[in-house]
Amino acid sequence: MSSRLHAALPVPAMMRLAWRNLWRNHRRTLIMLLAIAIGVWAMIFMTALMRGMVDEMISDGIESLPGYVQIHHADFRDDPSIQNSLQAPGHELLSALGNTVVAGWTSRVRVPAMISSEKDSRGVTLLGVDPAGEIAVGFDLTNMVAGRFLDGPTDKGLVIGRKLLERLETRLGKRVVVMSQDPNNNVADRGFRIVGVYKATLEGQEERFVYGGRSNIQSLLKMGSQVSEIAITGHDYRAVDELLASIRQARPPGSEVLPWMELEGYLYSMMVMMDGFVLVWIIVIFVALSFGLINTLMMAIFERIREIGLMQALGMRPTSILYLVLLESLLLLALGLLIGNILAVGSILSLRGGIDLSAVAKGMEMFGAGSTLYPALKLGDLATANVVVIVLGLLTSLLPAWRASRYSPVEAITKI
């Protein structure tokens, strides 16, 4: 007996011992288990909600319009006018755009314009587009709520947002007048028929962007085959370096190539903040849990001081006691993680259809987010939560475990 205890217990026996110790006081263990499960659920669920919101914001914000990477005239950002236009992509750029890192690209005319119906006028951004290219960079045809999208660069029709249609008090099929200026500062205006109406996540977009056929707009503005910008999408918006480098190499003289991070500073700062938030949130929840965890282990040890002393007197090594306490903690954490993960994945799956936030839609729009929130479960976040709980949990348990292994047998046995 003495020699077996002395030579450290075999793992299955230790395991059995730890498991039984855990359930000696089932109430305490259950409460702690519940707390760990709720904590883990909170970590994963809340993270998925925030991720969902920011992912949606970024994909809505960059995919259809700016693209991951954009080329424009070097002065265009400062002065977005027709004078600062680009030549249509040349041979070298076209071959770079054929690269596999490019998922889609499009070139468009983008000018400020005034649009007037019989009832009202509004300042808008007029986009002269090639519909096939727009679809390639992410324009979603299911967002068309009436009529059709443009059928080619020469389409003479106009596609406007739902909110703008309302503001102008006009209808599908009606004519509106678009006024802008050509490169010689002459006012250029033309009547267009509204052939389609689109919806967007943000009302602000619906009011701002008006789509026309690219060649048609180019002829209205007397700009030949020039364009204002070329938008390019890749395969992962977080990793645009390769895409950026390959486009930069082939960029036409006098142009500027920028990633979305610089074009949409707000969205980028949201993304960076969210990455930080996930870790801070997981750690805050863990710290809140850790006090209870240490307490539970300390109480469990305190009750067993005599027993621990006896085991030591019989020859069990202090390290074995340390392992035993750590094993108890590991079992507790693993069980809590299991329940917490199941709860989190279950609740996220049950909310797949999205959470309706239309009661605060205008407020969400201020954040740049839509009014339906889709939780997004990221494997990376799931892993972070689990690793943090296990690793930091065991580190926290080291303190009570170490103390337990340091009792001197005689003192411990005589303690009441």
């Binding site: 707390a35 809340m46 307490n295 936030l357 605060v360 201020m366």
Partner: protein, 409 residues
């Protein structure tokens, strides 16, 4: 009472380490809550003030329907006399009349569609911060002059500076063609991209003439000094115009529905997180108190055998919890208050905040609001939940069988 207080206090320190650990959990969450809540309140205040003071004011009188659908035709007659009348009703508030229209503005080199606001040069500086933010040139002076004040981004896009001329093209209230030539007298820089890009102000009477408005305007703006006084001012304005069916009063919440909703959305997600944190603390308390009751089974058995009612023991356990929670509250609030008060003087900033701040009309440093309410709200809820967590352990005392309990190990 004093006796049970002393007993509860002593009981608490029988397990020094356990009590401190539980109190630490409370202190941790209390400090966090005080910091977060005071930061939230501070930025909400700034968001509201900056947004409202920049342009929209706290209350506006408009034509019914104009707010949802701002059309030139939905105007209010005799707008300047109405402003004068309201000034006598609300002597403490600042009041100015405005008109608004969309027009194409052209310089020599550029044309852009923007919003033109007709303002009373004498009164506008009191209801909006834009006149005070004129960085080049000066604000409008004469109510009939053909002058215009524009934002910095707009000036850059139009490639104009002070002294240059701009042409306005649009349509008048009667559907006629509206046109005018104005001189840029000032350029403002508000820091808000939207205002700086798409807004221009001209004198009200010049506006009325150019856009065939006769004596009409679109809104009378009321700005008060303290946001708390909005409801009283709103009631007074509503009372004043109640017999005029073609007028309606709107408060800032109706004028800027996004603002309150953004705050609500932020508030509810924050409270969801705080709630989870508080629940975890409550579990900690539940575990500690349950253990402390269970380990005293024998002692409690003896006491009940001596004739002490279970109710008395239960309230002792609640009292112990209250003392522990109070300890967590006092220390937590003290540390949280120090952090908040420090940041209240130097401001809080984190990298990447500028972009977000600009979106919400915030400066790039936020100052936490240090009030009794913002300090005590979070810790108060923690305190309450800790007491709730002690209910189950203390209820167990009512089921105590003295004889059995005395035999317990």
């Amino acid at each position: 009472m004093i006796l049970s207080l002393r007993m509860a206090w002593r009981n608490l320190w029988r397990h020094k380490r356990r009590t401190w650990l539980t109190a630490l959990a409370m202190i941790f969450s209390n400090v966090l809550l005080v910091f977060m809540i005071s930061l939230q309140f501070g930025s909400y205040d700034m968001m509201i003030n900056n947004t409202l003071q920049a342009f929209s004011g706290h209350i506006q009188v408009q034509h019914p329907g104009y707010n949802d659908n701002p059309k030139l035709r939905q105007s209010i007659p005799a707008v300047v006399p109405l402003a004068v009348e309201l000034r006598s009703t609300l002597p403490g508030a600042h009041i100015a009349a405005r008109g608004a229209a969309f027009a194409l503005v052209s310089s020599d080199q550029r044309s852009l569609g923007i919003q033109i606001i007709g303002v009373e040069p004498d009164h506008e500086p009191w209801v909006s911060t834009l006149p005070g933010l004129v960085r080049e040139g000066r604000f409008l002076k004469d109510s009939l002059a053909a002058e215009i004040v524009i934002g910095r981004v707009l000036a850059r896009n139009l490639k104009v500076s002070v002294g240059d001329e701009l042409t306005l093209l649009g349509s008048g209230r009667d559907g006629s063609f509206a046109a005018g030539v104005v001189t840029v007298t000032g350029i403002f820089d508000s820091g808000s991209g939207d205002l700086d890009r798409s807004l221009a102000e001209v004198p009200l009477r010049y506006f009325q003439e150019t856009f065939a408005m006769r004596d009409h305007g679109h809104s009378v703006v009321v700005a008060v000094d303290e946001i708390d006084t909005v409801p009283t001012a709103f009631a007074a304005v509503s009372h004043e115009i109640q017999d005029k069916p073609d007028l309606t009063a709107l408060d800032w919440n109706q004028l800027q529905p996004g603002l309150k909703q953004a705050i609500q959305a932020d508030m509810s997600s924050a409270w969801f997180m705080y709630g989870l944190l508080i629940i975890l603390v409550a579990f900690s308390v539940l575990n500690t108190q349950l253990m402390s009751v269970l380990e005293r089974t024998r002692e409690f058995g003896v006491i009940t055998a001596l004739g002490v009612k279970p109710r008395k023991l239960a309230s002792l356990v609640i009292l112990e919890t209250a003392l522990m929670a109070l300890l967590g509250l006092v220390i937590g609030v003290a540390i949280g208050w120090m952090v908040a008060a420090y940041l209240n003087t130097v401001g809080f900033h984190y990298p990447g905040m500028e972009q977000m701040a600009e979106k919400f009309n915030l400066p790039d440093r936020v100052y936490p609001s240090v009030t009794f309410f913002s300090m005590i709200l979070g810790p108060g809820v923690v305190f309450l939940f800790s007491l709730l967590a002690a209910v189950y352990p203390s209820l167990r005392l009512f089921r105590l069988q003295p004889v059995e309990a005395m035999r317990a190990v």
